[in-house]
Symmetry: C2
């Protein structure tokens, strides 16, 4: 907006709006093929047991049933992002309630469900590991007795029920404690929560006689699912085609293989197309939710509020399989450091097996949990020292050129501006404007995930432009942002661009819709393609306009030169006649961010690339009788580098805050004895539109060096700070310092957390 | 084979074999969507009439009918390749029996057919133009009174019922007649014939709410159909997506829009997916068959057999709309010249409107007709002069460095080798080995059609390669050939390559599967992409192998250098991690073939690019009682430049000869009073497998300068010479010189053609 751009930076309607507004967009859940069967998964009823017998004979004989599969029908492989520990079907030992044991395909959904009921499983229970404490206790039963035999990425620090311990060590915390006037120690806990995407996991698979399987899926990472599925099916990845028609929300919950393998295996066995789709119950007992955590945080500070040292341990209950846990535990240590200057750090993230569902990634994985601890404690410290929380933060935040926790040099740091503008907008310093009313602040930083993006781009003879990308649109409008970058670079309108996306065969590789990277990375790949197209356009136009290529410019769908102008449409037509068509490819990979390797161990994400900075502020009231929280205003000031499309960034902020408030106030997957008690959307309480407060978004623009026009990743950050901001405001309002998520009305009324403890020396 | 290539030149199984052999391949005719309606077309019952009234009220009210459309529902546009003269539905005047007047979509095919029967049309007949003679007669009624108002490509020479007259003039034929000792004049006729593809025209269309229509079609030219359909729908081409799942034979009959527009219009009106598929009857009355012709050929020759001059006129009965006629008439003049040195030429091709179905393109359009005349007359001349037909040809054929009829310089001319080897293989000079038995020769030349091809290529992390091309596989294995070129260039196996093709959105522009160009042009685009991939691979590998890029080579799926080797798979994986993915694009456009512009007029194809040369020889017997022809042996020697895949070139030769024999001996769409009398596959007599004789293929390789490894177009040529070769053999066998196609048993028994005449001075 401020840089003289024409398309990039404008709040243009998203390119996928019509289908989504009118309901005609086809999501994977809508996708159907003629003659398609319906698949259902039979799941373990025990958290930890030996599977003595699995009898599918009766199910196989039921009317309409066309295939029944179990462990014997899948290759004997284990899969997983960091640790290959998960089988398709439990072959012998079951490790959580909900683990797949078999699957059936039938001509109707009802017939498939009836067949499930006819499957008989006999278990011999084993002692289950039901929570972090039990898993970490000396002599705890092992969730995986054979953990040593699993293939894992070499960098991981594994030991029994711990499938990774990531560590950052900076300076010497002992010295830090010595330099501190006060040392604060607290313990925080957070609950397991589900991403709450609207569309369940869904896949339709069909095989052709060349031995290729095509799967229409709503995964966020078609290329990752392709690789995993190829392993499971024991065929080459190139024989697996994943096509993503549309994704009804993902938030990290659709990164890894979900139901694609069941659909593919059932389709192979039945010789028919098969569709598999999860129910809400399956989502809540057997998907990839956010890990519950326990966080121990110890921070030293001088009496004037300077941080001297921090020691933190965050334990992730990652469930029966490692899932995203090992990486999430790494990222967590970066969040525990906070966007603060702290000379001495000793931070550890543990991913821990238990007999629960396999946890995964959820929008800013580890962010809300770690930030909840860090930013809650900052307010506790401020109150203890008698320093205003805003002031305490201002004394410690990072600035341009500072070092991050692992030694990266921070640039384009808009943190102070975010903090001051959020505080202004919420009416700081008036923290307690009335009885039962309070305001809270929380700040944070986050990475823009790297990874490759490739694009193919062609200019069509009507002047329109087709962008092929392996990324997928998961609802964030990120591909609209990338298309805006392309339109800007080519001098065309956004409406001129059509996007083809998310097909492992027809589109180039993309690292996928994850980690706030899509608009950033695909946009940059588009810029690379545009450079090549510009070269080809100028070559043709120079001849046409009788001038040299260096005298030309792209403007308003034309190549403009001293001798006149010629439209891109005309040049594309000409190129089809004389030059093979106006096509190009472009690739992008984020440059590495240098860091100090000596500071880290077991660390999958040792630097935050093109980091974003943000501050949240909230003004709320607490009903003293019921503990009910009413949010009057919620402010987010986020340094987005460059706002590619302000409206949709605001949409990301509003959605991220809404989700964050759900995790803060009400959401929790409740386990008892290894069983989920609230596996339905009545008892698992997500906020509705009516629960979402007024949210004010302030887009701060400190352009980064790498992103298109300076843009940074924007999708995940808004989900990070709500727990801490709200907890701090509640403490301001009614004095209750709640250190466990969710902050239910009950906890507020009781004035403390059941699970938490804290203190100072 | 002979050039040290490893994949190119090998008879490897085609990449699309498994699906086609097992029947699991999905053709457009198989394609279905859930909730799909069935569309049918209501057609004119009159050859030429004013449409007084069209009443669809009753049809609209019938059970299961969801949409009825007629002229008012389509944009008021006319379309056509060379002349935009054809409306979607006849708005006022109908011009042939079978012309679309309306269409219906219903929930079943039966309901759609019932609705057709309920449509009422009232006509006011006009005098029809039923054949070439009537169309060209002075004062003939005009098929298009408003012909002057139509948009046409400017080069055409139009006049009333003549929608193009293309001309080649070389030297002075008057001088040529003067130099001749004998001048031969003959008249030949050929029948209208259908391509006989196995799969009827089929399309399924569905609209989305962004206003884009997606059409699954079996067109040979998705990008051409996209452009035409956009005009008809009055939307931008980029809002039309054509996807070609598979094509069950095309042979030129599926070049232009067929049923796609009916499907799209019905889908728009009904709001549902709609499928439209033709019946055999519709194919025979209202598709794009090969034009019937009348050919007048006058040739001067010295007594020792040197050609001094040729004057030729070929009239194409192109039907109610110009279709491919104007271009076909141009190509015909090149064929009339023959691959002979003739100093004086005056050759004309006329495309003429009549009230019949709109004729189109059929494998080597104009080739069989014009060659039938030229090569029949060569034998007549040989017999008249007492020179052996082989010898007469050898005295006149073109050689390396000669000029073509329009002045192009001929290179890689393998004609003499073809002629001698075919003659040898058939046992020449023993022309009349027994009573009722005879042998015939015919030679010809043909073009490799130009036009753009673009490809996207990526190397996947398992070392497999994905080729995206806008071309389509129409059954010739041309995309297997292109993939062999790519495999050769990248040092991988054919089995490593997956082809994604024929999708106007996800694949780059391609001029389409026509004119024997696909393996040639797409192969060359692949070579261009391979150059870019090699650069990227070498860049990565040089670092890996600690050497320089110029020390590297691609071999056996590896980059090999002095320091060792690294696999493409490894480099592709690395590129995804460090470089954005191993992708490239490539484009190709055949360089222009210089010719003498002063020699031509109204000419759409004034040069034959990378021309191929061929000789056919046949040995047959004729039953003296019945006139039945039995072919003992059929030989084709074809200069293919370089045989990319010998087996499939042999397949093209065998198929082309089989089709050619059908046109020669039995096929004819019979019109009486503007109505087709034999619109079914019982009365329209195509040869079956049992009718196809033993065919021997001799692949001659005189490598061209442009094609991959010297390859020339191979698909169309085998269809050209059968009529002349068979006619010459029949004349040798029983003395009957038949100058009209098809050469039915009846004509042979009568000993002459009903429609033809000839003579000499």
């Amino acid at each position: 907006m401020s840089t003289g751009t024409r398309v990039a930076g404008q709040s243009l309607p998203r390119i996928d709006a019509p289908g989504k507004v009118t309901g005609s967009a086809v999501y994977a859940a809508d996708f159907a093929l003629p003659g398609m069967l319906y698949g259902k998964v039979f799941r373990s009823a025990e958290p930890h047991a030996r599977l003595v017998r699995l009898d599918t004979t009766r199910a196989s004989a039921m009317p309409g049933v066309r295939a029944v599969i179990s462990a014997a029908d899948a290759a004997d492989v284990r899969y997983g992002a960091a640790v290959k520990d998960e089988p398709v079907f439990a072959p012998d030992v079951v490790r959580y309630v909900g683990q797949p044991l078999a699957a059936v395909a039938a001509v109707t959904l009802e017939a498939a469900e009836a067949a499930l009921a006819a499957i008989e499983a006999v278990y011999e229970p084993r002692p289950p590991v039901l929570d972090l404490a039990a898993a970490l206790a000396p002599g705890a039963p092992l969730v995986h007795e054979g953990w040593r035999s699993y293939t894992a990425i070499p960098i991981l620090q594994r030991d029994g029920n711990v499938c990774n311990c990531a560590r950052i060590v900076v300076g010497d915390v002992e010295r830090g404690w010595a330099e501190a006037d006060h040392v604060f120690e607290h313990r925080f806990t957070t609950a397991m929560v589900h991403q709450g995407y609207t569309e369940p996991r869904a896949a339709v698979a069909v095989w052709d006689s060349s031995g290729q399987v095509t799967v229409w899926s709503n995964t966020q990472l078609p290329f990752d699912v392709q690789a995993t599925l190829a392993d499971i099916l024991a065929i080459a990845p190139s024989k697996v085609r994943i096509i993503v028609p549309g994704v009804g929300g993902g938030f990290g919950g659709k990164l890894r293989i979900g139901v694609e393998h069941f659909a593919a295996l059932l389709a192979r066995k039945s010789g028919r197309p098969v569709k598999v789709m999860t129910t809400s119950e399956e989502e809540l007992v057997a998907a990839y939710p956010r890990q519950g955590t326990v966080i121990e945080l110890k921070t030293g500070v001088t009496r004037d509020g300077r941080l001297t040292a921090r020691q933190g341990r965050i334990y992730f209950d990652t469930g029966a399989f490692a899932g995203s846990g090992p990486g999430v535990a790494s990222v967590a240590t970066m969040v525990l450091a906070g966007p603060y200057r702290t000379p001495n750090l000793h931070l550890e993230g543990y991913a821990v097996y238990t007999n629960k569902t396999n946890c995964g990634s959820y929008r800013a994985p580890s962010g809300p949990q770690a930030n909840f601890a860090v930013e809650s404690q900052m307010d506790i410290i401020a109150d203890a020292l008698g320093i205003d929380p805003l002031e305490l933060r201002l004394r410690n935040i990072v600035h341009e050129g500072d070092e991050g926790p692992t030694g990266q040099v921070l640039t384009a740091v808009g943190l102070e501006e975010c903090l001051r503008r959020a505080a202004d907008a919420i009416g700081w310093p008036d923290r307690r404007p009335g009885p039962g009313r309070g305001k809270g602040l929380a700040i944070g930083w986050w990475t823009t995930t790297g990874g490759s993006s490739g694009v193919y781009v062609k200019i069509n003879p009507d002047g329109s432009v087709t962008l092929n990308t392996g990324a997928v649109e998961i609802g964030t409008a990120a591909l609209t942002g990338a298309a805006q970058v392309l339109a800007e670079a080519l001098g065309v309108d956004l409406a001129d661009i059509t996007v083809i996306s998310g097909d492992t065969s027809s589109t180039p590789f993309d690292f996928g819709a994850q980690g706030s990277r899509t608009a950033f990375a695909v946009g940059n790949a588009c810029r690379a393609a545009a450079v090549e197209l510009e070269r080809k356009l100028f070559e043709l136009a120079a001849a046409h306009l009788k001038t040299t290529e260096d005298a030309l410019a792209l403007r308003d769908k034309h190549v403009v030169g001293p001798g006149g102008r010629v439209s891109l449409a005309e040049l594309a037509r000409q190129s089809q006649v004389t030059g093979g068509g106006m096509i190009a490819h472009g690739t992008f990979i984020a440059p590495g961010t240098p860091y100090d390797t000596k500071r880290v161990e077991g660390h999958v994400y040792p630097a935050f690339h093109s980091p974003s900075f943000h501050a949240h502020a909230v003004d709320l009231s607490v009903d003293p009788e019921t503990g009910e929280v009413t949010i009057h205003k919620y402010v987010v000031a986020q340094d987005v580098g460059f706002a590619l499309n302000p409206t949709y960034i605001e949409g990301q902020i509003e959605g991220g805050v809404a989700q964050g408030l759900g995790q803060t106030l009400s959401e929790e997957i409740v386990y008892r004895d290894g069983r989920v008690l609230n596996a339905n959307l009545t008892d698992y309480k997500m906020p509705t539109t009516l629960d979402v407060p007024r949210i004010e978004s302030i887009l701060v623009e400190h352009p980064g060096r790498v992103g298109p026009f300076g843009a940074k990743g924007v999708g995940e950050p808004p989900n990070i700070e709500p727990p801490a901001a709200v907890a701090n405001a509640i403490a301001a309002a009614v004095g209750a310092r709640i250190t466990s998520l969710p902050i239910t009305a009950e906890k507020i009324v009781l004035g403390h957390s059941r699970d938490a403890a804290g203190g100072t020396r």
